[in-house]
Symmetry: D2
Subunit: 116 residues, 4 copies
């Protein structure tokens, strides 16, 4: 890696990796009110394994989930509109946080904190 890539840039890169991984690994998973909590805990524990990751918080929104479930099947597939996600990483003393933020009805991954 070129020496010009400072720890703050690397922290932001690592945050992005965690978010992209989390989303594309778990989106599409069948989810219902009875399985939501187990899924949220597994997502947190799985992504926390990745390098530089200090904490992952996932909350599957009960009301959003209830609206998304159809009466025929009793479950739906996990998407970004059903969850709140907060990921924190630390690279060489720089910590950074990103969250899934609602932007005009779409979940958008954003850096919400970057501290040297």
């Amino acid at each position: 890696m070129p020496t010009t890539i400072d720890p703050a840039a690397r922290a932001c890169f690592e945050l992005g990796i965690k978010f992209g991984s989390l989303y594309h690994q778990f989106a599409g998973t069948p989810v219902s009110p009875t399985s939501a909590d187990a899924l949220a805990r597994a997502i947190e524990a799985s992504i926390e394994n990745q390098p530089y990751c200090t904490s992952v918080g996932v909350v599957i929104d009960e009301a959003a989930l209830a609206s998304a479930i159809d009466d025929i099947h009793g479950y739906t597939e996990l998407t970004g509109t059903l969850m709140d996600v907060r990921v924190e990483v630390e690279v060489e003393g720089v910590s950074a946080v990103a969250e899934l933020v609602d932007v005009e009805g779409y979940p958008e991954m954003q850096i919400t904190s970057l501290d040297a």
Copy 2:
């Protein structure tokens, strides 16, 4: 669906769907000794949401996991060689079971029971 597709055939089809779903949804998930149990519980709870599925049992093998983890990263990615899986479905009174069976070193999905 044509009337010639009997409940036993449909039960086998449903079993296959559960196995393919489980494998391709969760293979690749970062996994370590500390996150394995949460992941196994989430896989079970998620797939049990699917239609006709009466039970899912997932055991991530501690010894296989320990061998697969590399010293640099402390985790690996979930694959079929790391887990035992048992899925049971019931379609119109016919229950069927499939398991991930080791065949010459490769995990193979097989129907292990089919009862009218």
Copy 3:
């Protein structure tokens, strides 16, 4: 595998595996009118690698895709409502076909042909 599992049951099991694999491997993939064709071809070629699979046909519906794409991002995520899928397998001379069928607005995987 017990001797009581006949080739027809196994063909249905294999069909289910292909469908579950296809869906949970590729659902969530970013897709737009410019990338839809490449994605459909890759899904076909990938799943045709699996054992007993003789043919896979995937069509991503242009009109459904156009409706699903939002104006801000120009793409959406692949789901079952955006595609037609047909999978054919053959096990010991028994061929079987399954398709993604619209049932009350939801895509449902169904066996549509089973010939000894």
Copy 4:
């Protein structure tokens, strides 16, 4: 987003998202010499849909693939050790590139260029 997150940091974040997405969406896909090219093209076209992404290059290594394929099945599952990946993004005039780099036998995602 706080005003302190400059375009370079955001470019690195976006790069990370693309890499994590690409890896966890497509890892595990059945792949063989006959399907590798279609898969590589679909990965490129799919990820290029994502915001700020100006180019994605994926090469599935023929020799690595040949070694990974087992004689029984004729295919394997896509992993990071089988491919070269290069992703380029541009955020407010800042372009950044990341690549999958071999580090002691493991594929590691690294920023390889960051230009204001």
